[in-house]
Symmetry: C2
DNA sequence: CCATAAGCTTGACATTTATCAACTGTGGTG
DNA sequence: CACCACAGTTGATAAATGTCAAGCTTATGG
């Protein structure tokens, strides 16, 4: 692991509060590996042997059942994933695969649990992180159950517009097929949903989105911090 | 609070590991109250001042947006709810209302956080509970995104059959309108979904469900522990 | 530069789900 | 006992979403 990476991980909200004497022992047993795109890192149902951290690239968390498949989230640097399975020592509920060339840290789950037991601040950070994860999924659940696909797309666009700086033109940060899966629809329907947002000033050119009538779109999308804000 | 109730709460997995000297100070500031049916206990968006515990009765966790409403979960005795908001000191993401006459304990969130800081075992119990909650919602998310309403109903029935003892006849434990909302469909559609399961041996009489062709239903439902098991 | 493959889009169509209105049955109440 | 209120059901219809096949665009490699 590079020293800059070591520092970056140390600064993660999950590890920052940890005592100086504990962090090295957590990292000591860790692997760092570069993966090409489209590699399945973990498979749902397997035992959770490692806490994963994405240093660069991006990772798709997805799940399959009965021949169908859906994307549940995207993990971008620098953050951890599958913390809950690690802590509970339970099987993974989702699979994970690299979306592009990615650099991943693997920390043995047992080490995480050991230090969790001795470092109070780490324990507190884990609680905060888990509560955050929980609330994110609850929001996703509300998004899915309370909105039509058109409304989900509208709110997704507003959210990513803010994330991209707030300008009226911005770029999608993933393939449309994946976006469709994340939003709970088919790629064909996403295509039509973009068309359906034209009356609200949306135009699409490849991955470039333009929001011409901001107020109209916001009136239609009716975003709600209890569904759409990352922070709350 | 009755002494039996005190003991019951003490035995909850969330509180059982707590040191004997801390539990009284947690309960000292708590209220116990009886609520009639259909009382809104908390409203989404408000500050989370109390951790709630259902002693008897049942509570519906739901959320609304743009005039629509959906049930996200049912809380039954004896268990806590809105732990994540309490710990994060963040606004509630869901509203809660009594489904029937219910007895509820309210523990000031600040007390929970204070003892969380001093009692290691309590901290650990909270982590376990949060991880459990997180995984439950992830499963619900998979259920919703990977299955049709008919499949969700079939799996719901199998799950509740087991919960009710495994016999081929059992009772639904909530109104069909609520079940419909939990499963993410309209009451009309739930009615039709029950009809749609007739070929698999399902008959309905009021709240009484009969599964005549267990194997057929299971073949259709194709239940999966990573979606349908409470435990994993 | 062409050929190819892959993602995306479009149209036609099927399926699923929601909506609205009417009707049924049941339980409670005056 | 008559009446009402309400959950549930049913039918007709509409809207949303998925499926399949074909065509389009674009990036890439020989």
């Amino acid at each position: 692991m590079l020293d800059t990476e070591y520092q970056d991980i140390r600064k993660l909200s999950l590890f920052a509060p940890m005592a100086d004497e504990h962090f090295p022992s957590l990292v000591r047993g860790a692997y760092v590996q570069n993966f090409p795109a489209q590699i399945e890192l973990i498979t749902e149902g397997e035992q959770s042997d490692f806490l994963h951290i994405v240093l660069s690239g991006s990772v798709d968390l997805f799940s399959a059942w009965n021949g169908r498949e859906t994307s549940l989230a995207t993990v971008r640097p620098i953050s951890t994933f599958i913390l809950a399975a690690t802590i509970k020592d339970a099987p993974y509920l989702m699979s994970a695969r690299t979306l592009e060339k990615s650099r991943i840290v693997l920390i043995p789950s047992q080490d995480v649990r050991t230090i969790f037991d001795v470092d109070r601040n780490f324990g507190r950070a884990i609680v905060t992180e888990l509560a955050q994860c929980y609330r994110s999924v609850v929001k996703a659940q509300k998004d899915l159950k309370l909105r039509t696909s058109l409304e989900r797309l509208a709110n997704y666009l507003l959210k990513h517009q803010r994330h991209a700086g707030g300008g009226s033109v911005f770029e999608l940060d993933c393939e449309k097929r994946r976006l469709a899966s994340v939003l709970g629809m088919t790629p064909e329907n996403l295509s039509r949903a973009f068309k359906g947002l034209q009356p609200y000033g949306i135009t699409v050119n490849g991955t470039r989105i333009t929001i011409a009538k901001q107020a109209d779109l916001e009136r239609f999308a009716n975003p709600n911090p209890l569904i759409d804000d990352f922070s709350t």
